[in-house]
């Protein structure tokens, strides 16, 4: 008799969630995206079906992929764009997408445990009235919702990497300020949060086409980047594309590392500016006793490689968002550096 109410309740919730599914009551919430200060849980946004485990996206969310992705400790990432009904994101000549107010970018991080996905965190970028707001959410044990972690978190995670090696890592969920460290762009007046991945030059062609088909992206003719791991563009282009997506969000003239004078964005054409014979400025022990960011022909004596290979706080680059070395990235950038002609 005592169990009956619980039993009934289970039925009621199932029926309710079915009803919500049918009539579409669970849908992205303007209130959460635009108005609430810091919604405490991911479910408040209505981006996913709370009645199911994991992240089953609402039908208005459009999945996208990048040509070259940021390395995040071998985690699997599932990315979605939400644009309010009837609105369209415009595209500038340089391929930056201007999302309408009320849009959101949703990025889920997780690891396969066997063949089951275990979600770790979801990072949101919310397009509010005058700014983007970045917030991190950490998934619960039951995998039906994620809770706000403004101050970030460290989580011990076990997984098997792409080479079949079992690993344990002290996975770092960034705090709200750290989101901005990478996503911040100084417009000369203030430092504003901006999306990094969803730019035309970074988006996979299939994703661009999907966004077009859904009528949420304006047609455009902006140029695109190389895809570094597809090996189809020459080593230099691939390595520069890798550095662009993994480093240039800070290492550009308007980013967190502007003071270094080392700018790794794809468009840089001055060799010293993108590292060739560039001396360290404020690297401290990050320099590893080496003279140049990139020493042509000598990856092992290039500071960039030294810092990509380190897991030590104060040396490791990027400074946040990575606790494991990206061996393939190191191999690619090393290969490029080793083939750069040595200056006489």
């Amino acid at each position: 008799m005592i169990r009956k109410p619980a039993y009934l309740w289970a039925h009621i919730t199932t029926i309710t969630s079915l009803l919500i599914g049918i009539v579409g009551l669970t849908k992205p919430s303007n209130e959460a995206i635009l108005l609430a200060k810091y919604p405490k849980s991911l479910s408040e946004y209505g981006f996913h079906d709370r009645g199911k485990k994991g992240f089953t996206p609402h039908k208005s969310l459009i999945a996208y992929d990048l040509k070259t992705a940021l390395f995040s400790d071998h985690s699997e990432k599932f990315r979605y764009i939400y644009v309010p009904d009837g609105q369209v994101a415009s595209v500038s000549d340089n391929g930056v997408i201007d999302f309408p107010v009320g849009s959101a970018i949703i990025k889920n991080f997780g690891y396969f445990q066997g063949n089951k996905m275990r979600l770790i965190e979801t990072r949101l970028l919310l397009r509010r009235e005058n700014e983007w707001l970045a917030l991190p959410y950490v998934w619960n044990e039951t995998q039906d919702d994620a809770v706000l972690k403004l101050a970030g978190a460290r989580l011990s995670v076990n997984f098997t990497d792409p080479n079949g090696i079992k690993r344990t890592t002290d996975y770092a969920v960034p705090n709200k300020n750290q989101c901005k460290e990478c996503h911040g762009v100084n417009d000369g007046i203030s430092n504003k949060v901006m999306p990094i991945g969803p730019k035309i030059r970074n988006l996979a062609q299939s994703s661009i086409e999907r966004l077009w088909a859904a009528n949420v992206l304006q047609p455009h003719g902006a140029p695109t980047n190389a895809s570094w791991d597809k090996g189809d563009n020459g080593i230099e282009r691939n390595a520069r594309a890798y550095l662009d997506i993994n480093c240039a969000h800070c290492h550009n003239a308007r980013g967190s590392a502007s003071n270094s004078g080392l700018f790794l964005d794809y468009g840089q054409s001055t060799p010293v500016t993108y590292g060739i014979y560039k001396r360290p400025v404020a690297a401290g022990r990050g320099s590893g006793g080496l003279e140049f960011a990139i020493k042509p022909g000598d990856a092992d004596n290039s500071i960039i490689i030294h810092r990509m290979k380190s897991n030590d706080a104060g040396v490791a680059m990027p400074q946040i968002g990575r606790a494991i070395v990206d061996d393939e990235g190191v191999a690619l950038v090393s290969q490029w550096i080793n083939q750069i002609a040595v200056k006489k």
Binding site: G284, R285, G289
Partner: protein
């Protein structure tokens, strides 16, 4: 009377500056310090004070503040200790990226990278803060203790920094700066002003570093043409610690035993300091020693004025290749002031020996030096630079946290 008026003005300013809902957020040391403190830093609003209790905060990641107008106030640099020995991520202990921030009364220990970094901030006051690597000089220590960069209106007041593997107090690519009343010890560089526009460095104690106080201008970074720096009234004593900077960094080239060193830069005045017992030289004026393709960069020291300093012994154990031979040729010891000869309008009127090495180019081996006495007293044009003036609200912040008996007598 003046102080009374000042106090009245101060009250007015504080009322005006404090927003209606300003509050004090208390944070205590103990379990989960990382999340509690970082969350307080994120949820703080303009005008708030984050009050840190006494005790040791065990931190596992870097902290950051990105809200304007916030004060972080501990109970003293020996009582409220932010311990980063177990830090796993981030490039510094505390990062400040907002304006009008006041940091006071706490210590940062053993951060993996820099101690306190402020980037792109306007009006930052750092007072009575200690940054220390507790194991003493070690190349594994973080680079900078106090590190404002690309900032403007900076007041560093009464801080202590020990053990930085680059510079204890380093102000880079910034403008309108005061560094005063501070103690820097066991760092590679005690205080370094690099690629800055307008700085006053006064009444500091720089001792047992590799170099005491440096004024540098470097190429291949966004803000260049460092200028208008006054270094005066400092005690720069016994900076003979072997250089422990990781190689590759420019301070790695600073000879042990350097008191005050000016590298490239324009319009620098070094005066009324007491500079004593620095084994290479009490004052060095040199050009930038490395090659650069940077066409906008001026590698020479220009318009440097050195006057009215009091010198103790110097030059008795120069720490650069060939220095011992040069010292022997000069009678066993180098002069207290050494100029590499590559600059322009270098005026020295101190009443001690000075030599020019008459190098054709900075950074060349000493075998190319043609040393000669450097008398230039007759050319001395006198003091030219004006004092740095910071917005009054910055000074008021320091007064606002003083107890009654710390306030100046009426």
């Amino acid at each position: 009377m003046i102080h009374k008026i000042k106090a009245i003005l101060l009250c007015g300013a504080m009322i005006a500056a404090t927003s209606l809902n300003a509050k004090t957020i208390e944070v205590t040391a103990g379990a989960n310090a990382q999340e509690k403190l970082q969350e307080a830093l994120i949820l703080a609003e303009e005008g708030d004070i984050i009050a840190l209790s006494a005790g040791k905060y065990i931190l596992t990641d870097g902290l950051s503040l990105d809200v304007n107008g916030v004060t972080i106030k501990g109970l003293g640099e020996d009582k409220t200790i932010l311990d980063f020995t177990d830090q796993k991520g981030s490039g510094e202990g505390l990062l400040v990226t907002s304006d009008d921030v006041f940091l006071t009364g706490f210590a940062i220990e053993n951060s993996k990278g820099d101690g306190i970094k402020s980037k792109g901030a306007d009006q930052i006051v750092i007072s009575k803060v200690r940054v220390e690597w507790t194991g003493g000089p070690n190349p594994e220590n973080g680079a900078y203790g106090i590190y404002p960069v690309e900032s403007k209106n900076i007041l560093v007041d009464g801080v202590q920094v020990y053990g930085a593997s680059d510079a204890g107090i380093y102000v880079g690519q910034s403008q309108n700066i005061i560094v005063r009343y501070s103690i820097v010890k066991h760092n590679v560089a005690g205080i370094e002003i690099e690629n800055c526009y307008g700085a006053d460095v006064y009444q500091n104690l720089a001792t047992e570093n590799t170099g005491g106080i440096l004024v540098f201008d470097l190429p291949d970074i966004p803000q260049q043409g460092g200028r208008d720096v006054r270094v005066y009234n400092n005690f720069v004593h016994n900076n003979n610690t072997a250089n422990f900077a990781p190689e590759g960094n420019i301070v790695g080239s600073v000879p042990a035993g350097s008191g005050v060193m000016v590298m490239s830069s324009r319009n620098v005045e070094v005066f009324e300091n007491i500079i004593d017992d620095n084994a290479t030289a009490n004052i060095l004026v040199v050009g930038y020693p490395n090659q650069t393709q940077d066409k906008n960069y001026n590698p020479r020291a220009i318009d440097i004025r050195i006057f009215a300093n009091r010198h103790g012994k110097a030059g008795y154990k120069p720490d650069f290749p060939g220095g011992d031979l040069l010292a022997a040729a000069l009678g066993g010891s180098l002069t207290p002031i050494i100029y590499d000869g590559t600059g322009e309008n270098i005026q020295i009127s101190d009443k001690v020996g000075a030599i020019s090495l008459n190098m054709a180019k900075a950074g060349r081996p000493l075998t190319e030096a043609r040393p000669s006495p450097y008398p230039s007293d007759s050319e001395f044009e006198g003091q030219k630079l004006q004092p740095i003036i910071l917005p009054a609200v910055m000074e008021d912040k320091i007064f606002s946290v003083l107890s009654k008996d710390e306030l100046p007598a009426k």
